[in-house]
Amino acid sequence: MEDALIIAGKTIKSRFLLGTGKFSSYALMKEAIEASGAHIVTVALRRVDKESKSEDILSFIPRDRILMANTSGARNADEAIRIARLARAAGCGEWVKIEVISDNKFLLPDNAETIKATEVLAKEGFIVMPYVNPDLMDARRLKDAGAASIMPLGSPIGSNKGLRTKELLSILVEEIDLPIIVDAGLGRPSEAAEAMEMGCDAVLVNTAVAAADDPVLMARAFALAVEAGRYAWRAKPALVNKYAKASSPLTGFLR
């Protein structure tokens, strides 16, 4: 496939990843997944209910998607590891987004604990996608620990504030030889396009879609913006000039 996104050896059909929390119904969530074309869909294990046939979130995820369990609720590495193992036992597969949050007010990820969990789970055969603050040294440690991608935040979860961490993200894009997926904080499709234009490999969105008045339409809008941003990155945009090009150049006499 041209310009394929490959994670852990698997070709990912869409650079737009969708989270499944906060929707007003599972039916609407399913519609949004379908409208977005998202190939990777994250689900919090805490919401998976195998006891309930009619209300288990997993039964609303289209079968042709990659299910990525997330460890929402984990306060440290040990809890994240236990949740990942429970997710695999519950049939959620090998893909896991490590989310360790020890501060419920700002919901910022705990990088140190995330690295510890990544080391253990990667060795156990999980495809580990860690959600982190965009820190270069931690990203290197995660790569060494066996992470399949790095998922730095654009701004705090649910804040819809956009790419506030842009400078740090651009360092990761330049230095880390793993897919960089902006996860959290994107509020508008234009911000997703901006992340892609700067060379990020994909974006993951949840709140901005689920909390929109029309989540299905917004899911589609994000998917298109991600595609457009990727095209723009590949097209290598012309450089931005601070000054207008003089029509009577000062060095004209040298010609």
Binding site: G21, K22, F23, S24, S25, Y26, L45, R46, R47, V48, D49, E51, S52, E55, G73, R75, E79, R82, I83, L86, I101, S102, D103, N104, K105, L107, G158, S159, N160, T207, A210, A211
Partner: protein, 367 residues
């Protein structure tokens, strides 16, 4: 420094003078700030904020939507026993009330639990009166070990425990603590709780700290609205929440807003808290605590609970019985208080769906 010290700092505070001085400008300022301080909360709780209720509701809705989405988490209470050594003037279970007393045997606990889980409920809140002799921690632990095979999350609303006892129950499978201070007014507390272990205000006030130190996952605190001036009570509830949020940032914190409901006691609360007052409390607390859960129980009517969806509430009890044995046993006691919303779980779910929200029955599982 404990929260008791924070409370004491306000001993000389002139609430009356503050409320008189609050202006429209103060309210508008608080409404437009990204992060509110203590006195902003108090301004929003003043009667001067009442004309701004719609603006408060709009902002509360927006914050709740962004932080929690269009979902309402459901749970149900399971009363294990109503033996009690306290004489709380307002409570249906108080020691001096000549009511039938009962403690569920483990087979009865299982029967009740099966009846609840059959309704779809996956999060359970277990309750007892305060009797260390009739319902000791060892009994609670036996119940938890049984219930964790049936429910995905277990919270406790029992008498305050020692830190080591919280640890024991957490290790057995408890992940949440609900504990209401009832009132933050120390003089009134002394009057309302004349004897029994609950008369120790500070021991109860510090119980959430003890549980959090032992790594309790979630915590719900509250004041019984109607006992004292609700503006002050909601203010101290907000301060208590912020104190806990800062000290134990990994705890999932909720505030509960129970209004007094009639019990078998003939106690009448000194203050009335109207529906508009409740909305003011809820929206002011949401603006002050954007990330905290807000809990509205079946103490409130079905119609009001429906109207409150979207205003800030994130958690509701459903299909509640406040009698010991209330779900399926032939022998049941009187309830602790009168339930206003008698809807079954299915009806509560439908009400939430009709409001364009999703009722969520499972949001945790024992690790």
């Amino acid at each position: 420094m404990s929260f008791f010290d924070v409370l004491k700092d306000f001993d000389g505070f002139d609430f009356k003078a503050f409320f008189e001085k609050v202006s429209d400008v103060d309210i508008l300022y608080a409404l437009n700030k990204p992060c509110l301080d203590d006195l902003d909360l108090l301004s929003l709780l003043s009667d001067k904020a009442a004309p701004h209720l719609e603006d408060m509701a709009q902002k509360s809705h927006e914050l709740t939507l962004r932080n929690f989405g269009r979902v309402i988490y459901l749970y149900a209470p399971l009363y294990l026993g109503n033996f009690c050594d306290n004489e709380c003037l307002y409570c249906g279970f108080k020691h001096g009330n000549a009511i039938e007393r009962k403690k569920l045997s483990l087979p009865e606990v299982e029967k009740e639990a099966r009846a609840i889980v059959a309704t779809g409920i996956r999060h359970i809140l277990i309750l007892t009166g305060e009797s260390r002799s009739k319902t000791p921690v060892s009994y609670l632990k036996d119940c938890v070990l049984l219930l964790k095979k049936i429910f995905s999350s277990i919270s406790i609303e029992v008498y305050p425990l020692e830190a080591e006892e919280y640890k024991e129950l957490i290790e057995a499978g408890v992940d949440g603590l609900t504990l209401y201070q009832e009132t933050y007014d120390r003089d009134l507390y002394r009057h309302l709780h004349p004897c029994g272990p609950k008369s120790d205000f500070a021991y109860r006030l510090d119980a959430p700290d003890r549980a959090c130190r032992m790594k309790m996952r979630s915590l719900s605190i509250g004041a019984l609205l109607g006992l004292a001036d609700f503006r002050k009570e909601a203010f101290f509830l907000g301060l208590h929440a912020v104190y806990l949020e800062r000290r134990y940032p990994d705890v999932e914190l909720s505030v509960s807003l129970p209004r007094f409901q009639r019990t078998v006691s003939d106690f009448l609360p000194a203050f009335s808290v109207g529906d508009a007052d409740l909305v003011q409390i809820m929206t002011a607390l949401r603006l002050f605590l954007p990330r905290a859960g807000i809990n509205i129980s079946t103490r409130e009517s079905r119609a009001l609970r429906s109207d409150l969806v979207g205003l800030g509430v994130t958690r509701m009890s459903a299909g509640s019985k406040t009698e010991v044995g209330g779900y399926c046993l032939d022998e049941k006691t009187q309830g602790q208080f009168e339930v206003a919303d008698k809807s079954g779980v299915g009806e509560v779910k439908k009400m939430i769906c009709d409001k364009g929200y999703q009722p969520v029955l499972k949001d945790w599982q024992t690790l």
